[in-house]
């Protein structure tokens, strides 16, 4: 074996072994677990698909799963749509020497206590909250808005806030990679600035968009704090049920099955999205 290869494998093995032991093996354990059953504290190790049957057929679980996927999709669309102009602005209209300052400012809120941020959204969106009292005070509305807390809108807003930098950064990186002379070439060939954006900038930023979509969509399904704090009874998501099964109802196998189903759903949707995107790109060529 080559020196370089051997050294590379040697170096990568500690983190790789760690990821295998702490991630791959545990996920395999969850998969295995989901085919067992639990009666209070004793685990029955006979193979059964009953958890999956329950996870898919019980209307409660099914409703939670569908809602979770719907909310995750909504969060993804809202987050990426709101983030794109910001990434575009920083990449194209901010002086190069100030770009890293902007990126730093955008990432700061992300690193501060998630729990407290979500709680403050509850304060902002509440019946007597910041938004309502401000709008009432300004005379914009006559009575407090009620459609913004303890429902799915609140969950979408809060998660769009939480995942903002995750959406902005990949798009920003993709935009930064675009050779600026391409834009001049397009305008030189007679396209307006807007058409140039549609025909050159947007297509070239697609890799960033895809990364942004995946990095927002997939983790969203696993959040139980936001639905619990701002979602109200109709805003709960599948992760809340997974948490309940594991920590309250002591039915870990069912929780594991729900986790597997949730993970499988987002994976399938993500792969579908990637596949559609690739096909679209190929059709263009």
């Amino acid at each position: 074996m080559q020196d370089d290869t051997r050294r590379g494998l040697l170096l990568v093995s500690p983190p790789a072994i760690y990821a295998l032991l702490m991630l791959a093996a545990p996920m395999a354990a969850v998969l295995l677990f989901s085919f067992w059953s639990q009666d209070f504290l004793t685990i029955d190790r006979t193979f059964t698909t009953k958890n999956y049957v329950e996870a898919v057929s019980d209307p409660l679980y099914r409703a939670l799963l569908i809602r979770s996927v719907a909310i995750a999709l909504a969060v993804t669309v809202v987050t990426v749509a709101l983030a794109y102009p910001v990434a575009y602005f920083v990449s194209f209209h901010v002086h190069p020497s100030r770009k890293s300052l902007w990126i730093f400012l955008i990432t700061i809120p992300f690193w501060t206590s998630y729990l407290i941020r979500v709680f403050l959204w509850k304060v902002i969106l509440g019946f007597n909250g910041v938004l309502n009292s401000s709008l009432l005070g300004l005379g914009v509305i006559n009575e407090p808005l009620t459609f913004i807390l303890y429902n799915q809108n609140a969950v979408v807003i809060t998660l769009a806030h939480a995942f903002a930098p995750f959406a902005i950064l990949p798009i920003f990186v993709a935009l930064e990679r675009i050779d600026r002379s391409l834009l001049e070439a397009s305008q030189d060939l007679g396209e307006s600035r807007f058409r140039t954006f549609l025909r050159v900038t947007l297509p070239l930023s697609v890799p960033g968009l895809v990364a942004a979509v995946l990095i927002v969509f997939i983790p969203t399904i696993g959040d139980y704090v936001t639905p619990r704090l701002v979602g109200g009874p109709n805003g709960l998501m599948i992760a809340n049920m997974i948490q309940t099964q594991f920590l309250k109802l002591n039915n870990a196998p069912l929780g594991a099955a729900l986790a597997v189903v949730a993970m499988a759903s987002v994976t399938v949707i993500s792969l579908l999205f990637i596949w559609l995107n690739r096909r679209n790109l190929r059709a263009r060529r």
Partner: protein, 269 residues
Amino acid sequence: MKGGGLRLYALIYLLFLYAPIILLPLFAFNSSSIIAFPLQGFTTEWFAELTGVEALHGALKNSLFVAVITAVFSTCLGMFAARAGVMHQFPGKGPIMGLIMLPLVLPEVIVAVSLLVVAINVLGIGLSLWTIIAAHTLICMPFSIAILNSAFQNLDASLEEAAVDLGESRWSSFRLVTLPLVMPGIIASTLIAFTISLDEFIIAFFLTGGEPTLPVYIWSLLRFPQRVPVVMALGTLLVAVSILLLTIAEFYRRRGVRRSGQQDHGGFL
């Protein structure tokens, strides 16, 4: 002005991003125990109350313990992975690096559930601060690698060879040349991993045994409306510490970029 509309939008967006952080200190210093406008009067009572809570001190100690060890582990493992990924070619590189970076996109609840099952049902070792550290190291590692990657990418591979050529051993070349050059990245990675671990709740809640971390403790407080102003005070302190650490991290990251004479492209990721 060019991009005027976009600039306005970007500023409003920043306001949206910062809204919770701006409100936090307002309520922390507000004398009313109800978290709502209008503000009542100025008080430091909630901060004073923080000092007397025994459970809080325990939680803080636990969190610091977890965050420090996580930061060290995650940075060490990240060094291995970043160096291997940037400076070497080996078979299966894509899948291996993919697996290591996977926690970046994985729903946190999946990580939490997996490790919970292993700790309780497979190994039967029960939960402790160490189970949290194991999980936090896993989710911080991709961030460490992302930061250290750029540190190693900025590094000319022939620098270490030059040191070897001039008579140093492999290890002393690493120590004399590579280590000082990636040190800013190491510091940034350590601080970021520390910050992530300190604030992480979703996984910690699953894996906490008898000793809660700070976010888990805060979660328990949020259920009692009369304790919420105290949480605001605590949150203000946490946010202040986070921003301070991040600013230091950013300072070192930029210094690293400058030191290697590269163009700054901004951002941690």
